[in-house]
């Protein structure tokens, strides 16, 4: 950073390591659990170091020999469905919200405030309560068991619009004035100036929305009619025996870890965008 303060540097690393240990601890546990036998895990307490069953558990999870992924070999299929769903939701939400936030911040038109609140209020009704009527709408539109049905209803949320609104409000007015003076229309301003400035927000949202789309459970469960449109989290849930019968936690954890890899890759990949972006731009 700016100066080299040794103590602050050490403190920063210490805080980071501590934070990382605490926040990532559950993940570590999941990984450890995925390398033991299920018998070892249920003996209290669970072992804290990885065991020797890494390969056999992961192979079992992939090929479906362990407790229950069973004849449903399609781990690959589920990952594909999750991928498509996550990407469509992510791009859809970002695109739609960029446009709405742009309209809300940079234009004056009647009922502008009402529209903002209308969009905003979509965050405030729990899913469970509207899931039955939403299902009916999707069913009536013939969208069940399709990627459209899995994704479009989930693009309806306001988080992204809100975030972009916040960001757009921080963009200095001089930029807009300069653009207007150059004779640029609003869409020109949008493409050439606003979008590039928004890179880090878009990157952050990309990560969040991708993970959100990737981890969908309840809606796909309802909105599909055949198991081959199930995303990966439904598959994981299908392995976790509730109620009475036995769980093979080691295989469940192995599957869960594998299911986390694509989002993890997205997280790593998008981080470059955080550092690029605006740091060099003179505002």
């Amino acid at each position: 950073m700016v100066e080299r303060r040794a103590t602050l540097g050490i403190l920063a690393h210490a805080v980071m390591i501590l934070g990382m240990l605490i926040v990532a601890f559950p993940l570590y546990l999941a990984f450890v659990a995925s390398t033991h036998t299920s018998q070892e895990i249920v003996q209290a307490p669970m072992p804290m170091l990885p065991g020797g069953h890494f390969w056999e558990n992961y192979v079992a999870a992939l090929t479906g020999h362990g407790g229950g992924a069973g004849s449903n070999a399609p781990v690959g299929r589920m990952m594909w469905v999750s991928l498509v769903t996550a990407l469509v939701i992510t791009f859809g939400k970002i695109a739609v919200s960029l446009l709405s936030a742009f309209a809300l911040v940079y234009f004056r038109f009647p009922f502008r405030g009402a529209f903002f609140w209308a969009i905003f209020v979509t965050l405030m009704l729990p899913v469970e309560v509207r899931i039955l009527p939403t299902y009916k709408v999707v069913s009536d539109l013939g969208m069940l068991n399709s990627y459209a049905g899995l994704t479009i209803p989930l693009i309806a949320s306001a988080t992204a619009t809100f975030l972009f609104r916040q960001f757009f409000l921080t963009v200095p007015e001089e930029l807009v004035e300069a653009a207007r003076m150059d004779g640029a229309g609003p869409m020109r301003f949008f493409w050439d100036i606003l979008l590039p400035l928004s890179k880090t927000s878009i990157a952050a949202l990309f990560v969040i929305q991708f993970i959100y789309g990737w981890n969908q459970y309840l809606w796909p469960l309802l909105a599909t009619t055949s198991e081959d449109m199930y995303p990966v989290v439904v598959g994981i849930k299908r392995m976790i025996a509730g109620g009475d019968s036995g769980n093979e936690w080691n295989i469940v954890m192995a599957t869960a870890i594998m299911a986390m890899l694509p989002p993890a890759v997205v997280v790593i990949f998008m981080q470059r965008w955080f550092v690029k972006g605006l740091v060099d731009t003179e505002k």
Binding site: G67, L132, Y135, Y217, L221, T225, V234, M239, D244, S245
Partner: protein
Amino acid sequence: MNLKPFALASGMLALALSGNAHAQVEVQWWHSMTGGLNEWVNDLAKDFNASQKDYKVVPTFKGNYDEAMTAAMAAFRAGNAPHILQVFEVGTATMMAAKGAVKPVGEVMKQSGVSFDPKAYVPAVSAYYTAPSGEMMSFPFNSSTTIFYYNKDAFKAAGLDPNKAPTTWPEVTLAAAKLKANGSKCPYTTSWMSWVHLESFSLWHNTLFATQNNGFGGPSARLAFNSPLHLRHFENLSNMAKQGLFVYKGRASVAVPSFVSGECAMFTGSSGSYADVARGAKFAYGLAALPYYPDVAGAPQNTAIGGASLWVMSGKKPAEYKGVAEFFKYLSNPEVQSASHKRTGYLPITMAAYQLTEKSGFYKEKPGTDVAVTQMIRKTTDKSRGIRLGNFVQIRTILDEETEAIWSGKKEPKEALEAAMKRGNEQLERFEKASKASAL
């Protein structure tokens, strides 16, 4: 004469006809089985489909019981419900009250002309899913019941006879005391507090849990577990808890790992937990019948079922119902039943299946696996057929909440049971009102 068009036409006709003969009727089956049970369900469907050409059963996992119910309700309202829905036992009253949405199994079988003898089923199992009129409403599928597990190694170490399980609650208390004296931090625990200690407890002692024969008589039933017997039992448990003989380990089946890991020496829970125990326990264990109070007349009677049954949704075509009927007939087949019972630990639902399993020597190989069955092969009385109460999910939650107050020392047993009854009855009133509305 040019025969070609004729040949062509008859060829096409033959094709068309043969096409129809092979057109399979699909039967959609929504279920909540996960893990190894998920495989079991898929195998059942696969084997049935392979055994005949006319029908194809398609099982679809729809989340846990709550989620599957929600999915079914949503689908029904939108006009695309499945044919068969697996519903857990506490949802029975709700399903029965939904008269327009379900088709009684008895009716399905009769209308499809498939032979069906209600008497072939184990009484205490099928009674739960049968209407007072005698008509079977849903098809018992995966049923378990409450039994007693104990750690034989811990018994030996505490000076108790490992081959003699405590049969009465006083014996359990004595055993717990000895275990504690030997250093056990958790002599006894339980899962499913309401199912084991209130519902099954009541049936086992031929005592009412709720009026109107536990709800079989109609929705005007109200809770009745403030009887002296129930109170006495909970005061015993409360005393045990205070002395560290009974340790509360959580709701539902959260307590199972406590037994499997060896922490708790005695455990009451579902016969279905056998799979967990067999796989994970590193000690010698035994299964036995649920304990009872020997001075109560009529005890031990039979215990309460847990698990789920298969309901048939209404609004489908007769050809599809025939497929459902054939599938249920297949499931009732003694060989199929026996294989399922051995594989999953769930109760066999027909007497023939039980006898077949016994003949195969299975119970000798795996001692204790017949305990659950013997608890249920009794002729039920009016008071012991089962529990048929509406809003039962909420009522169980209420019972969990109020009894927790006892173990945490916040309420005395009498107070907790009365509070539970009051809140539970509010739920029953609400259900009665809603039922009257739908009966109109």
